[in-house]
Subunit: 363 residues, 2 copies
DNA sequence: ACACCTTTCGAAACTTTTTCGATATAACTT
DNA sequence: AAGTTATATCGAAAAAGTTTCGAAAGGTGT
């Protein structure tokens, strides 16, 4: 048991002394760089780091004995779906006798400098980042230590340089919106995720495409950004429902937000799906047990995490890998969607400022 | 940054060579014991382990440099409330620059031998176990390596030898049941957790006490064991509702089960809280957003985890600690409970086999 | 110019891990 | 029974890496 995990990497033969000789410094200096000691001048440090990277240095002696770790980084540990991701990584890690280190980075943009320091110290097999961007400097540091990384649902610009796993967000948004259109809805609101997240935008674009394909007007008033949490969904839905001409259906960028929308409907005296249809996104376990059970776009979170972790291990084993993997999403129709109770006034694109119904029609 | 974490432990001065001398074996043998090598005879191993424990041996050189880890072990990563616990441990760990290693042990009774091997290899600051028993042998191994451990909500026998953190389950069960009784309910069903879990039993006992105190009969038909998951709650509630004389209120041992009960009520045509009151347990985030919002017993999960982790670090710093900590629970009244629609037939303890209503009364 | 301080680096000391060979004991063969 | 082979146990020594400490270099103020 506890085999040294596929020893097809004889590359681990490089020793500290060898790197030191190449770099023209002493062995201790290299060790200091490795340990982030402060008494190494910046130029020296960089030179050594470069050499380290070039030689793909990895601790030799200890490697067999050292506990294999896989880092999993969330920027926040709030939502439930994090759990599914965790389980996915756990599964694969366990199969490789590795343990999972879970960290909450705090910021979405980039894990802080103290974080990277911790990672380097832990020398993990690899790092799985969820919903994150990765500044060039951090990438550099990870590469110099031969620590592979994969991003699940990257934020910010898609970086072809960074392997990532996602799901078909655009298709998901399209399918959800189409489902509503096919049910007869014409005014469809959307509460997507944060503006700076790729998946939010992709889902929104799916919505837009579905609307245009159906020849429906895209009313900017019906497009809201949320935060993926219940409260955001509640607030967004309240805003949409208090519009002069409120939507008959809401597509939410997350199940949690959809739960908020459900609550908003409740306090507004609207019955779901009779008076308002709601579609969620993610298909977290509770979606099946909300009332009414949520129609939602299933995202294979567990599998995404599994694939990401596998990818990590493949990169580490220097096997060829696809840089970008995108898994399919499915629409799961449950009880929160139905044809609208009242037909839309007409097909024309002009909004209809009829009765200033802040209180939407009941029953 | 990355200080050697409160260096009030000069005890780390014990070196391998010293232990070896005491044990009358060579340095390498001690190292082998430490690393779980197989070429050490059992008697020798035990002798060394004892000495190791006696001298509270801890790696000297590497200790400052080695990444501090805290292990968090669940037997399953299914439920949402795991998230709250994770966050609690994360918080404290982060404050001490430590990282959290998350593992799923699989079995409730005791983590497997491969698990312990991994832990020993990782040399964590300590181990937080959730819902677990800990066999004597494993305790021995952890102690010989000076790895402290704390159990959150221990299963099996309460072991005074093992520090643990829990919450006032009995009081919680009492408060929940009392609330229902005070609302006017007389026939109150309970779906508690698994039979082999202390917290399930404590909650059940709270229920029993509340019932007896109110002079109400305890009908064994109304007592069911669940698994803390939605499905179990659903099945249990269906069973209770199809009783000849069904309860007017159900106290569930977890919020998830309560969600299942809500669904059972729905498919049975019962409205909550009008026709059936439901009380949950845990107060997980979704409890606030279910429909109706769940009346539940709030368990300070996050704080429990924080306390457990703190306890760990205290033990490690050889500070005096309380072995058993129990945090308070609160009843949170929301919208899933109300007085029963129909008064109970009478106060007498004899069950009333009136109309064989497999289909419970509507409205 | 000199004393003093800070930064940077390497030699050497130290801790630990791992390899490999020595020894003892058991098992098996002739 | 004696010899041979296999296996388990242990330590000496080699190997790897970390840390301490002192030396060299460079700057600063007097």
């Amino acid at each position: 048991m506890l085999l040294p995990m596929r020893d097809d990497e004889e590359s681990g033969r490089v020793t500290l002394a060898q790197v030191a000789k190449k770099a023209g410094v002493s062995l201790s200096t290299v060790s200091k760089v490795l340990n982030g000691r402060q008494d190494v001048a910046a130029p020296t440090r960089h030179k050594v780091e470069r050499l380290l990277e070039e030689h793909a240095y990895r601790r030799t002696t200890r490697s067999a004995q050292e506990a294999p770790l896989i880092e999993l980084v969330f920027h926040e540990l709030e939502s439930i779906w994090a759990m599914e991701l965790i389980r996915g990584v756990e599964n694969v890690a366990k199969a490789h006798q590795a343990a999972v280190v879970l960290t909450e980075s705090g910021t979405r943009q980039a894990p802080g400098p103290d974080w990277i320091e911790g990672v380097l110290q832990r020398r993990p097999l690899g790092v799985v980042l969820v919903f994150s961007a990765l500044p060039a400097e951090v990438k550099q540091q990870l590469r110099s230590r031969a620590i592979p990384f994969v991003i699940i649902d990257p934020a910010g610009d898609p970086d072809p340089d960074v392997p990532s796993v996602g799901s078909a967000n655009w298709s998901g948004g399209l399918a959800a919106t189409r489902h509503l259109i096919e049910s007869g809805h014409r005014r469809i609101g959307i509460i997507t995720g944060p503006e700076d997240m790729l998946c939010s935008l992709a889902r929104l674009d799916g919505y837009r495409s579905a609307m245009s394909m159906a020849g429906l007007e895209i009313d900017p008033d019906l497009i809201l950004y949320g935060d993926f949490h219940v409260e955001g969904g509640y607030d967004g839905a309240m805003k949409l429902l208090s519009l002069p001409h409120p939507p008959t259906a809401i597509f939410s960028g997350s199940d949690l937000q959809a739960l908020g929308a459900l609550e908003a409907a409740r306090v507004s005296g609207l019955r779901v799906p009779h008076d308002l249809s709601v579609v969620g996104y993610d298909d977290v376990p509770v979606a099946r047990w909300s009332s009414p059970a949520l129609t939602t776009v299933h995202q294979p979170l567990r599998r995404m995490a599994e694939e990401a972790t596998q990818m990590l291990l493949h990169i580490r084993a220097q096997a060829p890998v696809t840089t970008r993997l995108e898994l399919a999403t499915d629409l799961v129709v449950r009880n929160s969607t139905a044809p609208p109770a009242t037909d839309p006034p007409r097909d024309g694109p002009t909004p209809q400022p009829t009765h200033p119904a802040t209180d939407p029609p009941r029953d």
